[in-house]
């Protein structure tokens, strides 16, 4: 770990507002995206992201630096999100409709109906995937997260994560074809 990061972590652990705000600004989007993609619903993301950061601040003094700070924060976020998912397993069942509503709407641009349909199909197909394939697959599409981080988050070897992502994509393609037989791709 770099000296600058260590100093920054110590400042956060002491509760220095500016350092904490910097940490939230740097990792907030990533943490929220992990929660959003784990749960498939936007409603609770902000509350859970707050919980993640409060846990991070509380346990920062115990952070030993064996993993990267970002990896550690991702792991905390993933655990909080999965705990929530376990508490309401039914959220996964209702995910297709709710995730379809997550497609960003832009009032200034005319909606591409075909694109919306494709997104809704993708969300429906994703919601139907087994959790062990769905989670690595959706985490892998978050910009800031690499395979090593996903492996750390899920407590799996990197090779297994790659296999799950590969199989997840295969199953996703099959589900997409099953949901919309007329489409030729993806």
């Amino acid at each position: 770990m770099e000296e600058d990061e260590l100093v920054w972590i110590r400042r956060c652990a002491r509760g220095e507002a500016q350092a904490c705000a910097e940490l939230v600004a740097r990792y907030g989007r990533m943490v929220g995206s992990i929660i959003l993609r784990t749960l498939g619903r936007r409603e609770d993301v902000e509350d859970l992201a707050q919980e993640v950061f409060l846990r991070v601040f509380r346990y920062l003094p115990e952070f030993e630096g064996r993993a990267k700070l970002s990896t550690w924060i991702c792991t905390v976020a993933q655990r909080v999100a999965v705990d929530e998912l376990r508490r309401r397993q039914r959220a996964v069942v209702t995910a297709p409709a709710e995730m379809a509503a997550e497609v960003p709407a832009d009032d200034d641009v005319a909606h591409d109906v075909e694109q919306d349909e494709r997104d809704a199909l993708l969300h429906a197909a994703l919601a139907g995937l087994p959790e062990k394939y769905r989670l690595p697959l959706v985490y892998a599409s978050i910009e800031e997260i690499d395979y090593d981080t996903i492996a750390h988050m899920l407590g799996l070897p990197v090779g297994t994560v790659k296999t799950y992502i590969f199989r997840g994509k295969q199953q996703l393609r099959e589900r997409l074809v099953a949901l919309a037989p007329g489409r030729t791709s993806p």
Binding site: C12, A13, R14, G15, E16, A17, Q18, C20, A21, E22, V24, A25, G28, R29, G32, S33, I35, L36, R37, R42, V45, E46, A49, Q50, F53, L54, F57, R58, E102, V103, P104, R118, D119, L122, P130, E131, K132, L135, L137, V138, A140, S141, I142, E143, L154, K169, L172, R173, L176, S185, P186
Partner: protein, 113 residues
């Protein structure tokens, strides 16, 4: 892999990359920083439990377990093991139970995400 499959794979990757990301509200970092400062300022007030409280807690927690183990041991001791062990089906029953246990454990481990 043919070119059609490659194209489908690329398109799927592109779609996955467009899954919604979360954008924190404008005041999110400031609110959390304030909460973190409050959290750091909170004194640790919890007092460690006394030894007698710990002993009593352990006693209450483990008493039913200890009683259950005692009763089970008594029941097992009263069973006609010698007679059963002499039966020709006994080794098969033991092997079957072991196999079923092993299979159940393996399936359980495979289901862990």
């Amino acid at each position: 892999m043919n070119s059609e499959q490659e194209h489908a794979g690329t398109e799927l990757d592109a779609q996955l990359a467009q899954l919604p990301q979360w954008q924190p509200p404008a005041d999110f970092a400031a609110r959390l920083a304030a909460a973190a400062a409050r959290q750091a300022a909170e004194p640790v007030t919890a007092t460690p439990p006394s030894t007698s409280a710990l002993v009593w807690e352990g006693f209450v927690e483990y008493l039913p377990l200890a009683l259950g183990v005692g009763v089970l041991a008594l029941v097992l001791a009263l069973l006609p093991w010698t007679q059963w062990a002499a039966a020709p089906v006994f080794p098969w029953a033991v092997a079957g139970a072991g196999l079923a246990g092993g299979l159940a454990l393996t399936l359980r481990l495979l289901r862990v995400p």
